[in-house]
Symmetry: C2
Subunit: 244 residues, 2 copies
């Protein structure tokens, strides 16, 4: 079996390391890539073809793992050459997924949860062809959500709805505790019921959010736009919190 990659960032590199089987060959191309990426490709256990068109044609599974802004272009340009499964692992909205589905034959909509280079990432899949990818369970925990294209993207967005709103809540309540001289105690007392890693995890969430406040606030706007639901009181407050 041949798995091809368009895009050679962390996701692709780690998948190649995780999927350790002598029955599977990896291919990609250095066509138009930066010299830094080309270096990484040359150091990896992957056969290098002249063009991504060739990669798309030869692959049984073509993996698109790019920056979200390129996901549609890649699908438009190479989707038509891919007769196998087209696995989209870009961090894209459900609407973008639906648009990609117009340009490729056998789309599977995927989302990796947990850091790809952590101990236990989980690959969530949706779309009818997902079943054919469940063999990946031998290498990375892989779960099919449903036959519906878009469900993996929607699920990822639902997850973000929770985690991004939680970050705003942590920012607000820890600031309140700090104003009362009780910030350390606030984290400590919550660790009693929320788990030992609460403090570290929460502080990391707070600083990640504050350090990329503009991007996080755009992501919250996208969530609110996509779901377009009057009941989203908490998510809208999270956005307001970040914009203050």
């Amino acid at each position: 079996m041949i798995i091809g990659f368009i895009g050679f960032g962390k996701v692709s590199q780690n998948l190649i390391e995780l999927i350790d089987s002598k029955d599977i060959e990896f291919i990609t191309s250095t066509e138009g890539r930066s010299s830094k990426t080309a270096d990484k490709i040359q150091q990896s256990d992957v056969r290098i073809l002249d063009s991504f068109k060739d990669v798309a044609i030869e692959s049984d599974i073509l993996v698109s793992a790019n920056s979200p802004g390129n996901a549609i272009d890649v699908a438009k340009t190479y989707g038509k050459y891919a007769d196998g499964i087209y696995l989209d692992l870009n961090n894209i909205s459900p609407d973008t997924t639906f648009e990609i589905n117009e340009h490729v034959h056998n789309l599977v909509d995927g989302a990796i949860i947990g850091k790809i280079d952590s101990a236990e990432p989980v690959l969530y899949l949706s779309g009818e062809k997902s079943d054919e990818l469940l063999f990946l369970n031998d290498f990375i925990q892989t779960k099919k959500i449903s036959d519906n294209i878009g469900d993996a993207s929607i699920l990822k967005l639902l997850r973000s709805t929770y985690t991004k709103t939680l970050s705003s809540l942590l920012i607000e309540s820890s600031a309140l505790a700090r104003n009362h001289g009780l910030e350390d105690e606030f984290f400590e007392i919550l660790s009693v019921t929320e788990g030992e890693d609460f403090t570290e995890k929460s502080k990391s969430r707070i600083s990640n959010t504050l350090n990329s406040r503009k991007r996080k606030s755009e992501e919250l706007e996208q969530i609110i736009d996509y779901f377009n639901d009057d009941d989203l009181v908490m998510v809208k407050a999270a956005l307001e919190k970040l914009n203050r």
Copy 2:
């Protein structure tokens, strides 16, 4: 040493079980108690005095653990007889704690976090006399926050600010997932990063909150009133969410 109890609910009963020392005697009274409470007292390892006035006079540590609405009355009526430490463990606001401090001699402001009958409750204390209660560490994890009366109540309120707002967030995001037919998957995908007990804990938070929506919403109002801070965007949204 003699520890006296005014109020004989879960908190008092469990403290008596936890503080297992032949050097410590427990006292209370059945004065004006329901027959059910009187039964519990008679079944416990505690000496029964004729009146709570006597309990207050004899105690080295007098523990007030009643329903929050009675906390001030108990302090007004018996505080003047207690020459030892007066440990208030009622679930009361900082303002109520400050008022109680007007009526008793050696107040220590306490908050038990984690269920008292769970494996590992933690007793948080504030007030200058807290040091004299740190021997309780032999029986229950006991931490002094500061010399400031009220800090234990404020810390408990800060904790509630987080947990009650989180419940509203869980109600909103799980409803959104349900509307998209992905509720089970929503909890499952979050468990990958939030911990194995996320689903069970979250569902319990959601049902607890929805089952006592009116009381939870009053508690949120008290938090907003007490802190009186324009920056409390998330907490106010949590209240709005519950009132819908």
